[in-house]
Amino acid sequence: MRLLLVEDDRLLAEGLASQLEKAGFSVDVTGTAKEAMLLGVQEDYRAAVLDLGLPDGNGLDVLRKWRRDNANFAVLILTARGDWQDKVSGLKAGADDYLAKPFQAEELIARLSAIVRRSEGRVLSSVKAGHFELDENRQCLKIDGGTEHSLTGTEFRLLRCLMSHPGHIFSKEQLMEQLYNLNESPNENVIEAYIRRLRKLVGPETIETRRGQGYLFNDAV
């Protein structure tokens, strides 16, 4: 299983590479952002371990470039700053997981295996309807013109349900099946609250209410 290790600290890179090889990966090591960008696009890797602080650039830029060029291998980012905002921007840029330095090699390998397994069956799957595209892997909504909204689990499931059959009327009971929350008895008000929130993202006309019947996704808007 080919793996790209991007880490500029030579001592750490050497140690990690040998541990990863012991775990069954065949490892390429680079210490610069420039080379990482090239390798990630040219070679066919299954996974990458990416350090964010590189001498000639930001690891996030490398990641964005990979994702832009459709390099879809699993990526685990290493960061020295355990900031939540850093983690959010890392995942937004397309990472699958992050690990804060210092870490144990066993944990790195466990996390890597998990994200490789997760990305295994992953195909480029998205649901398109009208101006909207739902990215199933990243659980986010892309709108024509490039804006991207991240969704919570239920928002995503409701939208996927509605968008997979544009024009089809879904009753509140049907939509309720997509719902998962901590309420003992989820009621129809919860659905209404979610629909209100989704309408804020896609526009009020895109999700239509049919009185007494339910909701439908209008892809003609």
Binding site: D83, V88, D96, D97, T152, Y180, N181, L182
Partner: protein
């Protein structure tokens, strides 16, 4: 704080360009005062002119009426009237009387001036200015009246030399100007006095600032006028928080160096000793020492990153929560992270952005680790309280153990990776905002964490 910076803050908050309040008041009030005086003087001049003209005109009218009466009494016979300088002596005015066959003008030297006026009809007053006739005045006001006595049309003109009047009028106007200028000087004095008097507290404030810069005092205690009191208060609060921060970071650094240097010394000792073999137990020992260093560093660094309540800092709770929920949803793909809130995306809380991220991130991450399927975050604001509730559906924590949650150095479970610092950090940040963190059991058996911060 450097002197330049203080001055910069002053000039920016009080005025855009001008340097001092005194200067501004003077540049505003002085031209305004002078301008108003000048306008008053000009109005005075034109009023004086109009008044004197009206006065002279009414007198001329009276005299014409008197002459008309005389002529009517003489049945229109003009030569029957007392001529010569009789009227001039009585009224000090020149006059002209014209009937179809006779014209009387007195004094004669005014003839060239009055003759042209006799050629018109109609009752009106006429002003002749800039006439150039020798031995006659250059500026006169005349009143002309036409009437008929016994079928004979008669015109009468009485006129006055305005020159003399004008001279005395100019004199009066000049005196007014002098008085005005004196008043302007008085005004300047009063303004200057007023400014100085009202600026006195500011001057003492300025002096206090100087003493603050030179270190003579540590807080401003000067009597500030009401308008400046909030400024002084905020400045003092800022100084307080700077002091606290300095103290905290010193303390943190002292703790850190104490707890970090010893393990470093130990590890180096082992590495330097070439005669000592690096067997597994030594390696393990060294590894755990390095682990200690990392834990200490992490804890102190996180703590030093907390901002605490700060003026002018706020965060968008809903936006930040959405990002974090999405991220955790990616990290735990088999679990669902849900948001329930009635706040809008643009809603703000006066909590520093990084601090709020730490609170939400640690609570959600912790709940994510323990939950079976679902974590719910609720953000609400009620009665001036910001409420953050994180509920999970995991196995929960028994009520006896809940007391220990978030206490430093306590971990209820050693199997989940992480330092167990998360809840302790949340507690610490919330305490900085003088808020409350409380734990209870969720409706489905998991843990429910409630954070309340008054805002």
């Amino acid at each position: 704080m450097k002197r330049g910076a203080v001055r910069g803050i002053y000039s920016m908050t009080l005025f855009r360009k001008l340097v001092s309040i005194k200067g501004t008041l003077l540049t505003l009030l002085l031209p305004a005062g002078i301008g108003l005086m000048a306008i008053a003087w000009l109005i005075h001049g034109s009023l004086l002119e109009r008044m004197s003209r009206e006065f002279v005109e009414s007198r001329l009218k009276d005299e014409v009426a008197f002459l008309e009466l005389n002529i009517r009494q003489a049945d229109g016979k003009i030569d029957m009237l007392k001529t010569g300088d009789y009227f001039e002596k009585v009224f000090h005015h020149a006059f002209a009387i014209q009937s179809p066959d006779q014209t009387n003008i007195s004094p004669l030297s005014w003839q060239p001036l009055l003759m042209p006026l006799l050629q018109f009809d109609g009752d009106e007053s006429v002003r002749v200015q800039d006439a150039t006739i020798a031995s006659a005045p250059s500026d006169i006001l005349a009143y002309r009246k036409s009437f008929v006595v016994n079928g004979v049309p008669i015109k009468v003109i009485v006129s006055e030399d305005m020159g003399a009047l004008k001279n005395s009028q100019a004199e009066l106007h000049a005196w007014t100007a002098i008085v005005s200028i004196l008043l302007v000087f008085l005004l300047v004095g009063v303004i200057w006095f007023g400014i100085n008097l009202s600026m006195r507290p500011v001057v003492s404030l300025q002096a206090a600032l100087k003493r603050l810069q030179s270190g003579e005092i540590s807080r401003i205690d000067a009597e500030a006028p009401e308008e400046f009191r909030p400024l002084v208060l905020q400045l003092n609060q800022l100084l307080d928080s700077l002091d606290q921060r300095l103290e905290r970071s010193r303390e943190a650094l002292a703790n850190l160096s104490h707890s970090v240097k010893t393990p470093i010394a130990a590890v180096r000792q082992v590495l330097d000793d070439t005669s000592r073999p690096l067997d597994n137990s030594v390696r393990h020992e060294m590894g755990s020492r390095l682990g200690d260093i990392d834990r200490q560093l992490e804890a102190e660094m996180r703590r030093s990153r907390f901002a605490g309540p700060q003026i002018g800092k706020s965060a968008y709770p809903v936006k930040q929560a959405r990002d974090l929920l999405w991220m955790l949803g990616r990290l735990y793909p088999e679990k669902s992270f849900e948001l329930s809130t009635s706040l809008t995306d643009e809603f703000r809380w006066p909590i520093e952005e990084h601090d709020l991220n730490e609170i939400l991130g640690n609570l959600l991450d912790n709940a994510g680790k323990w939950s079976a399927e679902c974590v719910e975050l609720s953000l609400e604001q009620r009665n001036g309280l910001a409420q953050i509730v994180v509920t999970d559906d995991g196995s929960g924590v028994s009520e006896n153990d809940q007391v220990h949650l978030g206490q430093r150095g306590r971990r209820l479970d050693e199997q989940t990776p992480g330092h167990g610092l998360g809840l302790a950090i949340v507690r610490e940040i919330v305490a900085r905002y003088e808020g409350e963190t409380s734990f209870s059991n969720g409706s489905k058996g998991g843990l429910k964490v409630l954070v309340e911060v008054s805002i």
